[in-house]
Amino acid sequence: MSTPTTELPRVEHEHTHPSDAQYMLIALFLAVVTGAEVALYYVNMDFLPYAILLSILMVVKFSTVVMFFMHLRFDSRLFRWVFVSGLVLAVIVYMVVLLTFHVFNGRV
């Protein structure tokens, strides 16, 4: 039987936070992606590749804000677990509902 320690490790922020300039660069990146999205809106293309491209850009923006502005990339895994659980659950459950309604295949 091991003697439990009385000193528990404290989770410290050992990494350095991004600097102000780095945050602004990330914001610039987000703005560029937004611009790309809007530009795509005006391009004449088939629905499916358009939707896929836009979705990719959307996911890129989403992840960037979550990982860097919300700091999830550098923080405790616990936060990632609880947030991603909710996110994945929502996506799956609502996708199933929409599939039942045939939203993606021929529903008017």
């Binding site: 039987m1 091991s2 439990p4 320690t5 009385t6 528990l8 616990l78 609880v82 659980s85 909710g86 659950l89 799956i92 459950v93 509902v97 039942t100 309604f101």
Partner: protein, 670 residues
Amino acid sequence: MAIIEAPEQTGPLALPGGPSVPAVPAMGVFARPGQTKGWRSWVTSVDHKRVGVMYGTAAIFFFIIGGIEALLIRLQLAHPNGTVLNAAQYNQVFTMHGITMIFLVVMPLGAALMNYLMPLQIGARDVAFPRLNAFSFWCFLFGGLFLNTSWFLGGAPDGGWFAYAPNTNPVFSPSHGMDFYALGLIITGIASSVGAINLIVTVINLRAPGMTLFKMPVFTWMGFVTQLLIVFAMPVITVALFLLLFDRIFGANFFEVRAGADPLLWQHLFWIFGHPEVYILILPAFGVVSEIIPVFSRKPIFGYPFMVFSGIAIGFMGWGVWAHHMFASGVGPFSVAAFSVSTMFIAVPTGVKILNWVATMYGGKLRFTVAMKFAVGLVAMFTIGGLSGVTHAVSPSDLQQTDTYYIVAHFHYVIFGGALLGFFGGMYFWWPKVFGYLLSERLGNWHFWLILIGMNLTFGPMHILGLEGQPRRTYTYKPGYGYDVWNLIETIGAFVIALSILVFLYNIVKSRAVAKRDNLAVGPDPWDARGIEWMIPSPAPSHNYNPVPVITHLDDFWHRKYGEDERGRPVRIAETAEVVQDGDATGVHLPSPSYWPIVIAAGLPVVAYGIIYNIGLALVGAFIVLVGVYGLGLEPSTDPDAGHGPAEHHDETPPPAPAEPDKAEEVAPA
């Protein structure tokens, strides 16, 4: 508290940091409550144990209301062409019976036990957010009361607890009942969601040193999974309720078929919540049984990892089966087949639990206390309900069973025979820890047998009636269908249940009176139990543990009392008195009581009444909530001017010098 040190130690935002913090004067208008006795101490309490007791008390109160609603139903259905209730009244009664029993009885009973026990079982002093915990309770209570005022304000909700659209639109449900439904459940939903965040953070963060996740008791594990289900499921019904509310009060088009809407949207949203909801109802009771059976079998729970993983599996899989409530709704054959298969799979983890409980008892030294009887009762009754559930999973047979009394039989066996029996067992088991005296075993036996016979008389025949075609949710039936005799028997059974509840209530009153009269005080561990909550005095002291225990085993308390001989049999290694704590609270800082939780909670029904009747009133309610939220946010969770627990010891710093030495002499003890 040392006054010698710099004055920045006072004030609401005083930090344990250094003198770099400027002095900040207190901002409050009202003094922090500090009562420890009387009704005010309950209203401002943030102690998870008091919150738990209040949840339990409120649940029993609502249980009586829901029970009366049940008796009215059974009186109406005792004979064909019943005249006790007309159709409109019947719709309200059976709707409120369902809403009350699910949201205002079984969930709060689970909340009572989870709030009381989970911090104790993990070795914590309280939950992560004690004031939010108090808020959750008052929010639930006011939401439940708000919902019930509908009886007096034009009619209770009448669309069934499941409230299928478009039956719930103003054309078919013209009274305000469904508005009370939507708003009332939004309010109680807030209570549950906030409580869930609280308990999730508590279990993750406040486990005592050495208490790894896999040394937590099964009850705490089941509670943890339950809270995760709550926090993710409540938002879905919240969406549905808002859509319904907006349809009704603004004329939105969410369920307006002529506008192109699809009523199935309601059903999906409701049941995506509704199915996890039934696991929310049953998992805490499974946890209770997993605590009781080992104690009264003098054996550890069989297959602890399987018990934990099956609970987690139920939590996950519960999200994948909701459309089995919709087999007859026209979702299409592919959906029906898929959900039929997923529903069959979910029987497996529950089956694992049943087997493990039985295996725990096998070869054990069994003591059939009342708590044990209720626990075994759950195992038996839930098995029956689970078996009928398996027959529902098979969609072809479900098409025969759906909307008949066969379904009513199923869910009463699992909710009444499962959750409720389990919670009664939990009450008998933990009553001494909470109140310091035992409930009478003699009266408890009457309670148990009456309720077991009563529930089987009431719900057993429903299987037969359902298969013979008696439809559910109908206010009467005609003679000549062969329903008459069984319905009468069911009504008699319902009154037997009512009698058993009277016995239970009498047990509470009598046991308390006897305990006071004879000055009975049960010790910390009347059952020779296993969990660390039995290591502290009974009733549990307000600070729970001192010192915070260091955990080395699952069932840590048991292992402090017993070792094992060469053959693995328990051998006493320490007297209980040597191992239990003495309740000394020296040096313990507890979170301080607060007014704000009940203030915020009180504002919510005002908003709700305002939405129904008068927008000005809604703004008043919103203002109350806003003030309350700011009050809560700006007040420190622990009053820096409060004492340090009942026994103040200041070894190194002298007590503060009285401001006026003359006064000190004046108040010298007589």
